[in-house]
Amino acid sequence: MKSYSDIEKTLSDYAQKASDTTRFKSVINTNRVILADREPKNTAVLRAVFNVAAVFLAAAVIGGVAFATSYLKDLPPVSSETAADDTDAPVTDTDTKEREYTPLPDISDYTFEGLHEIEYLETQFTATSDILPLSEEYENPRKLKDEIAKDFGYNVYLVDKNLYITNNKTVRTWLCITDKKGKLIADIVPMYGYEILTNLIYAEKSPTGDPVIVVTQMRKSDRIRSVSMYDLKTKAKTNIINLSENMINQEFAVFYSVRANKEENRIELEMSVTRSGETYVKEEIRETQRIIEQLRSEEDNSELIRSLLKEYSENKAGLDKRVYGHKYLTKTKDGYEFYDVEENKDLPYGTDKVAYSIPERTTNRKFVAVTSGGKTYYPDAVGYREGMRKDGTLEQVYYGQSDKDLIIPYSDDFDIQNNVYGKDYHIISIKVFDKLGFMHRSDQYLIKDGVPEKTWAEPRNIAGLKAYLEKAKSGEYCVSVTVTWDDGEVNEPGDIRYEFTYITFLKKK
């Protein structure tokens, strides 16, 4: 038996050989790496928060003025001074201090006729020039659902695949809209790289009378969200909420999402503020400006942020939905409601014990819901255990927990749904195991219309899973589903988080 030092010597030798035998030309100073010609954001927290306030206020002014002048003719008039500031020029702290406060026009104050929340077909395909006008740069687009598209008048494609732009490989999501004859109407490109488009809403008639698309853009790396509106007739873009990257720092982050209220012909904007695991969901945008403005003058702002947000949330009980510590806001068919935590004393994954200054706590959430035979099942849960160390750092340990005894009677109406509010849900892969534990590879066995699909999109296709199970013999089948909600988590740039769940179906004759 080798000793530790023998193994260390082996590893050390192998590492040295790997280094010696590798030929590598630096990617720095090539077009692979483009470092913006500016200083990185390694400023102090005070400076960051000050910038947050300044940029938010400026964005509110700029976004508001643009919105008002371009679209909403019935808005109260704005001063010529603020209208003149409707540019993309950087906003300095001095500018913001001297600028007169202009309330942010709320998109939900206005009516939009013919609202549709845009959904996409699961199936993805590689576009060719006869489908989309810019074939080489569009791969694996998703198309608007057929039933919506019938009355829509446009073809909408969501494109999410690597694009090659001036040899600098970036991952982006674009929105491409064509008329029924294939003519390009709008080509909506996110402002930043690593950005995806979510919460797409189409309105047949905006306050100006033109059809528009309202879209939330989210940066994968830090989940900054902004809301924009695109006029399909004039091709004008209006930033309703335009968050600068300075809006996120170590202290807190602000996210937005939009919903179509078809009954009232309104587009509702929902905002949430997150700070160190506490999330406050706000219906009103304006009130938060008060909080951020107060932050500007405080030197020690971390405690102030916490107290202001907490006070604000508690005082508005009944109006706001607050998620604090142990609770999560979940999306249900009837709306939004809190999901209570379940204490979990036996963590499945052994972790190193850490001395905590406060009692550690454990949070679970059921992240997928499976419906079958008219019933809903929650086969799996993920959660985290968190605690504050004595040195003040927060430790979070994530784990998964399965209900291994749960067997779901298979029914033709079964479906797997996202049960996590506020996050985009993507199934990465589906694998099917039989009772003996043999894996039926999803890319070989998921069949649609009798034809095996071998595209990247296919393993994510629940329809393909249904097709397989329908043709399968009676018995038990364990389905492994891998899902993710985000490609970039807040704490680590570029971090990818997957969750696995195993669902056992019982198929009877």
């Binding site: 080798k2 260390e8 082996t10 590893l11 590492a15 010696d20 790396s221 740039p493 570029g494």
Partner: protein
């Protein structure tokens, strides 16, 4: 950290990052892309790095994540499991180090500790500081990892 300091710090580790990325994606172009994306991402997010002493470990983790992201995006041709299998088809370099880590089925945290230890030459207390983990935890992971590698066929 200025742009020059950043570039210099990256240049010192670039080859190691490339090897780490290659161990995930197993092809040269994607490995270069992963490194390039990681460098760009690190520059953009440099403000989040509170302690510059943690720079090496931080950049390594970003590189890993970028490589995994590319692997996922390219996985229409090859599954994640398949891609992790050792492959010498390009006769690229001596990857036995990473093959050992793969064969031992080490988790990512343990891999990172071993890479920082053997590729970068950091001592365990430095790695603990760099990763923000308690030293006993790092030691535990380190020796558990060595135990797993020790049990591999051919190394006993």
């Amino acid at each position: 950290m200025t742009k020059e300091e950043f570039t210099s710090a990256v240049a010192a580790n670039e080859k190691k990052l490339y090897i780490a990325a290659y161990s995930v994606v197993r092809n040269t172009e994607d490995a270069k892309d992963a490194v390039a994306n990681a460098i760009t991402c690190a520059w953009e997010k440099l403000g989040r790095l509170r302690d510059e002493e943690k720079f090496d470990g931080w950049l390594l983790k970003i590189t890993y994540n970028e490589a995994k992201k590319l692997l996922r995006h390219n996985s229409d041709r090859v599954s994640l499991e398949d891609a992790r299998e050792p492959s010498y088809e390009e006769n690229f370099s001596d990857m036995r180090f990473y093959d050992l880590l793969s064969a031992a089925r080490l988790d990512e945290a343990s891999r990172r500790i071993l890479i920082l230890r053997f590729f970068y030459g950091y001592e365990l207390p430095e790695i603990a500081k760099m990763t923000g983990s308690p030293l006993p935890a790092v030691k535990t992971k380190y020796y558990r990892a060595l135990d797993k590698i020790k049990k591999l066929p051919g190394l006993q």
